[in-house]
Assembly symmetry: C2
């Protein structure tokens, strides 16, 4: 039993692999960088850096990008990540459609595709995943690193198994192994909100925060939790599942089977449903946004009420984890700054003042592709070790 929790031994090979990841990450975190600067930042000797950079050049992951400014002597050669040396397929198994992208190492989208779900679940939904990968792979044969999948529900990312995805009627589905066998590529599977957090960390945040909570509010409510520079999934892989934590005083039945979940008052689905009862012009997310912006009483009451619930939930996370960076992503960003201000002011009132003042709450990157990008980031993390920490 104890052996299972002991970390593995360190060997010279580990040391070399570790240092190579260190160098790759230093290059990745800059648009361009010299060998001398890599040595300075990593603490490795210049000889080691030259040696390790040589390997990365041979693998094609890194390329030269001209010369930097001279400090008197010869101008140093600059290095950068060869963005298109590898491509990755990232999927987002969303609620109304399965969508996918082919991205390069910088998260730039090379191709994208969207297949409507049309109520499919079980085997039929699985077939749609296969169709999507096949289509995306067809014209992306060049150096595919692998396939990443962001799926709803509880996902065991170590085994690539969807433990439970209620909408898709999947239970203990070995999605990763199944696709790996079919396509002969590495496949990683992660919870959609968790991988959205990885997208922010990998592609959009510089300097990379050590700790980051990314709240995703769309049809559902979920979060991804980055701790010590890595996605934290927890014993049950459900870290960030705050949408299904009961809120005091709420009595609505949730689609998860419980009562009073945050999702029942803070998801876009709930907001549209509640606002439409008082404001006939609210029929979907877009009309909710415009009614809210126009000052419609019901829309404001419903949306700001949700903001306060979201604020309480964030205060709980700040209290539990003492994180300083919180991002909110997903369609809810359509409610804009007035909504965000209500969230912020609730967090200030609901947590230890000294922690609350240090916490920054912002909207994250606005993109329909954030889950698919995050799924790609997960592949990069696994295959290239880009999120390594000590």
């Amino acid at each position: 039993m104890v052996a299972a929790t002991l970390p593995g031994k360190a060997t010279h090979q580990h040391t070399r692999a570790f240092n190579q990841q260190l160098v790759l990450r230093a290059v990745y975190d800059h648009s361009s960088i010299s060998r001398a600067e890599i040595a300075r930042q990593t603490g490795l000797t210049r000889t080691s850096v030259s040696d390790l950079v040589g390997d990365l050049l041979r693998e094609g992951l890194v390329e030269e990008s001209g010369r930097g400014p001279s400090n008197g002597g010869k101008a140093p050669i600059l290095l950068r990540v060869a963005a298109d040396s590898r491509h990755i397929i990232g999927l987002d198994l969303g609620e109304s459609a399965f969508s996918g992208v082919v991205v390069n190492l910088r998260g730039q989208v090379v191709r994208s595709l969207r297949l409507p779900l049309e109520g499919r679940d079980g085997e039929a939904a699985l077939d749609l995943v296969i169709e999507l990968v096949q289509a995306l792979r067809a014209d992306s044969q060049r150096n595919l690193l692998g396939v990443g999948i962001g799926a709803p529900g509880l996902i065991d990312s170590d085994r690539g198994v969807v433990r439970w995805a209620v909408n898709l009627d999947w239970t203990e589905l070995a999605l990763g192994p199944l696709l790996e066998e079919r396509f002969g590529l590495p496949v990683v599977v992660g919870n959609d909100s968790q991988v959205a957090a990885l997208a922010e960390l990998t592609f959009f945040r510089r300097p990379r925060p050590q700790n980051l909570v990314v709240l995703r509010i769309g049809r559902g409510v979920g979060a991804g939790v980055i701790l010590n520079g890595q996605l934290f999934q927890g014993d049950g892989y459900g870290a960030g599942e705050i949408g299904h934590v009961a809120v005091d005083g709420l009595t609505g039945r949730c689609r998860c089977g419980s009562v009073g979940c945050l999702e029942t008052v803070a998801s876009m689905r709930a907001l549209v449903a509640m606002a439409s009862q008082g404001s006939p012009e609210v029929v979907d997310e877009a009309s909710l946004f415009s009614s809210f912006a126009a000052g419609d009483g019901t829309a404001r009451e419903v949306a700001l009420g949700a903001a306060r619930h979201v604020g309480r939930a964030i205060a709980g996370l700040v209290g539990a984890l003492s994180v300083r960076h919180v991002l909110i992503v997903g369609p809810v960003a359509g409610l804009g700054q007035p909504w965000l201000e209500e969230v912020r002011s609730t967090v200030r009132q609901s947590s230890l003042p000294v922690l609350a003042t240090e916490t920054r709450i912002d909207f994250g990157h606005v993109s329909d592709d954030i889950v698919a990008l995050g799924a790609s980031a997960m592949v990069m993390t696994n295959e290239l070790g880009l999120s390594l920490v000590r």
Copy 2:
């Protein structure tokens, strides 16, 4: 900026130090163990293990403890931690008294001392800490590893600074550096609830859980969060400060300055105050426990109400972190199993069923010394690397 978040390079020296910690931890996690078994558990070669064990024997940290059962050949020599080869001073800066222990490497208390606080704060409270360390050090000259301090409030453990301890009127007090200079010993400072979690992890839990939340309910309410085998403190060092997260519907003013904190209804202080209003026989914790056990209506209402608030808070943590092991420590354990059952049933109702069923909630180790023990564990962790993870 980026450099600050980059992990350090790995060198051969690091590799050796890492592997030595691996061996020490394997020995530490067993009452006795053979070199062959260490090799099996760590994945190191027998030659490396013999070499590294040799160092540990020379340093006196490990000793031989007889021979194990033979597997046909020569019976193997067994090794164990030389429990008394090092001593550690651990302090608990409690609310009514500062107490301290001298413990060995197994957390066995060699000596303890308690100095009543009598309302002191500021400089006077600092003098009391110095008096306590002096007294405990006087007859513990043998191989003192260092001094660990569990203090209330927000503690920057990296710098040994008490950022904010409202009861003691300390703000940005460099307690660690100050005592290090005075006593010439390593001094580490941690939040009291956070170090209580370390005590559980280091001394009382086998196998060691990877992730563990320890909720401490006494005069206040706080938690310590162990993630990936290590104490997680967060950007602001306030991880686990759930006592000061606002609870929906509560309006009481908290001593932290906010309104509606969990502490205002779930701390022992709050329980005694509330119960005493309906039951004149409740005057302190002991009488609350007996009234609760005797079925007194007010005592039950107040205590079970608190259990539900605590259950909601735990559900929030389970949702945020997906941890499977939750322990509750501190005086509240005096309320016993009926109280714990109310907590458990609330957690079941308030979190995603599939996560709730996997979560174990128990009382932890019952000891007045848990904070002082945890402070010692923090010293061991820092000086001997006992909690290393990859």
